[in-house]
Symmetry: C2
Subunit: 169 residues, 2 copies
């Protein structure tokens, strides 16, 4: 099991992302469920982030996912809030409503409650989209307590975006 | 100068707020600019927060403040994003669009850049509203670096909400 990411290590990734976005004149936004604003907080920890971080939507309830991001009620009922479909629709929704070129979305089960045999605590779906890249989603199963799962989710979301930015530079 | 609030001390306030809201069956939402998701993150640090934290809007850009919360372009131009009028409109907007009974809004200058003679770094407006209580706003001037200003802003926002909940119990 890898170490739990520290504030400093997470901020370092956010800083690199900010530098890349700033150099390209592009904007970023977040749509978060289980991370609950942690990714937006990490981005805005960085001085000058108002030049590349545009908005973050903490869509904790299903109503918020529907109303703010246009996630379909059918998707939420059929696939569930923690699913590839939901995070993909969250990414697509944010790219549609916000003046951002890049978006990430996170929905998972941080625990300690809420787990099931199908989707145990630590199950997290992350979606990415933007640029010329098709919207993608990956499922993770993170170890640790609520804080660890949230930090690992934020790290994976930011590293995935950093990789996309590097691949499309 | 008081000590910079720790994660633990901020989470303790969020936990108390959650207990009060849960006991009343009420919901809470946040509209954050300079704190950038920190308050939403602190609320969702608490296990079971999905039973009282409904959504958080990190309206970092002025476009986000207008589009998501209905803050008027006139207010943003005349009074500025860091003003009583803006945080009051942010609170009113969130109470209008979200199924929440309580809302807080924060807009300020966390620094290190962005300060002026009129509104130096550390100037933060916080607004509160909900229940039967009229929307209110207070201006703060917090000391310290970006992280300290953001933590002190989150603390003041949460303590103000806790006080409102206690006063209306």
């Amino acid at each position: 099991m890898t170490a739990i990411p520290t504030d400093e290590s997470l901020q370092a990734i956010a800083r690199t992302i900010g530098e890349r976005l700033l150099a390209r004149g592009q904007w970023f936004g977040t749509a978060e469920s289980c991370t609950g604003g942690l990714i937006a907080k990490l981005c805005t920890d960085i001085a000058g982030s108002s030049a590349w971080f545009e908005r973050g939507l903490v869509t904790y309830s299903n109503a918020a996912k529907r109303e703010l991001l246009g996630v379909s009620a059918d998707t939420l009922q059929r696939a569930g809030a923690v699913s590839a479909e939901t995070v993909q629709e969250m990414v697509q929704g944010l790219l549609r409503v916000a003046p951002v070129q890049w978006a990430v979305a996170v929905s998972g089960i941080a625990g300690p409650g809420g787990g099931s045999a199908d989707k145990p605590v630590g199950t997290v779906w992350i979606g990415w989209g933007g640029g010329e890249v098709a919207v993608s989603a990956s499922r993770f199963l993170f170890e640790g307590d609520r804080d660890a799962v949230r930090r690992r989710s934020a790290e994976a979301a930011l590293l995935g975006l950093e990789a996309l930015l590097q691949a499309t530079r």
